[in-house]
Amino acid sequence: MKISDVFKEMSLEVKTFKDGVQREVTGGYVSDLLSDVLAHAQEGNIWITLQTHQNIVAIASTKGLAGIIIVGGREPQQETLEKAESEKITILTSPLSAFEIAGKIYQLLQ
């Protein structure tokens, strides 16, 4: 599954590094605790969170994540957008909740 496959199913807006939507997604991880994501997310995962500050980009980068979906209609901060663009990290936003997004992606991955 690719991030682009998720679009067909639900409303997502790509905020940074559009090319990344073609990347293969190995699974997902849902957490707002950054130490938890550092310890447990796996390479190629899509990360679902409500955090919007710039440290999420470095986390995604060092973990080799496929992208970040910021949920609940929250908007990433300006520094987050700039950093993500330069680090080639795809950030998406959605008005939906983490539960709804995760449920759909889980289904798509089955």
Binding site: D32, L34, S35, D36, A39, T62
Partner: protein, 143 residues
């Protein structure tokens, strides 16, 4: 790529400056990957380095992170000038954190940093003097 001499790097960390958090972790991961280290060591190194960076940024005034890669081991030393840690056993407990509310809202301060640094390294040493600072040394052996 064979390692013939020690490969090292160092990063300065400033308390409260979250903007370059993770830089050391990302650089070290990239170096280890280029050198052909196995994925398990690369993954562990990325975790412990990021957590070590965060502790200086969150709790100390300033500090340095240095890493040394040799054919036998990866060593990471993090030294800071800061408040130090009064009760190291307590600080090492999973879930223990004194992070302020605004840091917790950022998703840091889960009290997982030091325990995860210990868990992911073969040697973990922490030394702290209250009012002066903290030094953490971690070693990972390369089989």
């Amino acid at each position: 790529m064979p390692i013939h001499q020690t490969i090292e790097g160092s990063f300065q960390l400033i308390g409260g400056n979250f903007s370059n958090a993770g830089d050391a972790s990302i650089e070290l991961k990239q170096k280890l990957t280029e050198l052909g280290f196995n994925a398990d060591i690369v993954r562990k190194a990325a975790i412990v380095t990021f957590e070590a960076e965060m502790n200086v940024i969150i709790y100390a005034a300033a500090g340095w992170l240095r890493y040394y890669i040799t054919p036998e081991q990866l060593k990471i030393i993090v030294e800071d000038m800061g408040p130090g840690i009064e009760d190291i056993d307590l600080a090492m407990q999973d879930g223990y954190s004194t992070a302020p509310e605004w840091v917790r809202e950022m998703g840091w301060g889960a009290g997982m940093g030091l325990p995860n640094m210990k868990k992911n390294s073969d040697v973990f040493k922490i030394d702290s003097v209250v009012g002066e600072g903290t030094t953490v040394e971690m070693i990972m052996y390369i089989q």
